[in-house]
Symmetry: C2
């Protein structure tokens, strides 16, 4: 009671001091396992990810969750899976055996998922994914906001003929970014199809290919909004090959703001950042809050994507 500060004035201040002194002298540290057995609180959060530790930028989600948890005296017990449902179920079971207080269920990119049945009564918050019906608390990036942000950068520089280079992969991010862009150019009365090019894969080569096709059209766009930084890297290469200078002849904006790419390109790439750290932190805090308030209504949170402004945009 002296150590925990519990029991109010049940314990004399002089007695408490003696206890504290003895503890310090002995280097005493409470055994959290025994405490957990008794209190049924382990002060551990389970973190289940699908290849999150492996995915370069998604690691920031771990870090965000970690920091928020640690600040509250919690530690993260990690299980990384391949995303396979059976494996995820097993991971959750392994975590529950260890009596974790709650679960953070993370995906390496924004997607819609079903929550595994195993979770049941364990409090859970979804990280970078959400359920179709919104029945589980979750946080995902505000992709629409981010797309509007980079499009606004171009608009402010006077661009109207803004092309879009994207992947054909069927992911949430593609749909939202594409839809937002389409609305934007359509609002100018432009034909979106004429300004659109996609490639099977959202990587450098795909970006290069799509950009080559787009930039060779009779009325080429004055700016391109890329699905992601990797595709933007390909767009840079295509522009160089066609003798177009960035941002002189062509402005480029993108999404993801990957630290290994966006700031390293020449010129630096203006990109909407995926707020991985913030999402991780938000999810952990929200989960912690829910441990004390198990009946709180589920929340769907959209995390803003700040725009990293660099030198890839110039007046049209």
């Amino acid at each position: 009671m002296a150590l925990n500060g519990t029991g109010g004035n049940r314990i004399g201040s002089e007695t408490r001091d003696r206890v504290l002194a003895a503890a310090a002298e002995l280097g005493y540290r409470p055994n959290t396992v025994a405490r957990g057995l008794r209190t049924r609180r382990t002060h551990m959060l389970g973190f289940v990810g699908d290849n999150v530790a492996t995915t370069p930028f998604a690691g920031q989600m771990i870090r965000g969750a970690h920091d928020a948890a640690r600040e509250a005296g919690f530690l993260l017990l990690m299980v990384d899976t391949t995303g396979d449902p059976d494996e995820t179920g097993e991971a959750i079971a392994a975590l529950q055996e260890r009596q974790i207080d709650g679960i953070l269920l993370a995906t390496m990119y924004h997607q819609v998922i079903d929550v595994p049945a195993e979770i049941k009564s364990t409090p859970v918050v979804l990280l970078d994914s959400r359920t179709a019906d919104g029945s589980v608390t979750s946080v995902v990036p505000d992709e629409r906001g981010g797309a509007l942000g980079v499009l606004a950068e171009l608009a402010a520089a006077g661009h109207r003929r803004i092309g879009h280079v994207t992947t054909a992969e069927d992911v949430e991010a593609r749909h939202i970014r594409l839809t937002t862009w389409r609305e934007h150019v359509t609002a100018y009365g432009l034909d979106a199809d004429e300004l659109f090019a996609e490639s099977p894969e959202g990587r450098t080569h795909g970006g290069y290919d799509a950009a080559m096709r787009l930039l060779r059209r009779p009325e080429r766009p004055t700016a391109i909004f890329c699905f992601n930084d990797r595709m933007a890297m390909g767009v840079y290469r295509a522009a160089a090959e066609l003798g177009l200078s960035i941002p002189g002849d062509l402005s480029v904006v993108s999404y993801d703001d990957q630290e290994l790419i966006a700031p390293e390109l020449a010129p630096g790439l203006t990109s909407a950042a995926l707020p991985h750290y913030e999402m991780g932190s938000w999810a952990a805090k929200e989960l912690l809050r829910r441990l004390d308030e198990p009946d709180a209504e589920p929340v769907q949170h959209l995390m803003p994507c700040p725009i990293a402004r660099r030198d890839s945009v110039a007046p049209a």
Copy 2:
């Protein structure tokens, strides 16, 4: 005993079946906390990293350790720090309170460290770092081997005037890679200083700067060995500006094999890979082994760095 398979033939097979059936029916899962309290084994490994979750490629170390641990029924309890010794000490204490069975102490890049005093009796394996005196079991990349490997690629293509572009930052990797290169070109009777250029920072811009200086010298090298992929990215840019084609006029090899860079450059960059996954896996397995054999002699392991061959090397 039926569930754990312990107690040998103490329990009848028919009785065991009944127990198993009942457990399955109830969805019974043993409480690992209670078990840990009794057996003093939690089947959790502490993973202490300095910004490891944050560092893009180092995440593979976590994944390697995770997979090896999980295969043995262990889970990773993560603490990420800034690398500050006090913080690391506190992290270790937090882990010990939770009765973890052993500690993996990881750094985000290869370095020489002192082991925190707190560790004491807890079994520990160092990941991507080592002690000066070799008193603690550790695994680091075989940087010399990797450097020899990429230099051999160049030698096999007939290159002798091999330049080196590196960082001035005082890190293990710089020293080993530099020394290995110096020995290599000196063995050809060349003056290493004429083929050497460094920049304050090991990033793209630094690589560009150093390469510009190096490639403008009267007798320019026919190939460049770069400290890392980011600097290589700058070397590519410099070569392009000087009208030198890669690999036609200049071959380039590098170190790290970062997935976001080496395969994405055009042409693909030949690079020695940092075996992060393998190091993580080795460290966890070795730690697990040591839990049962606490008195085993410390081992210093060098993990080979495989060469990722791409298209940046051509005959001299």
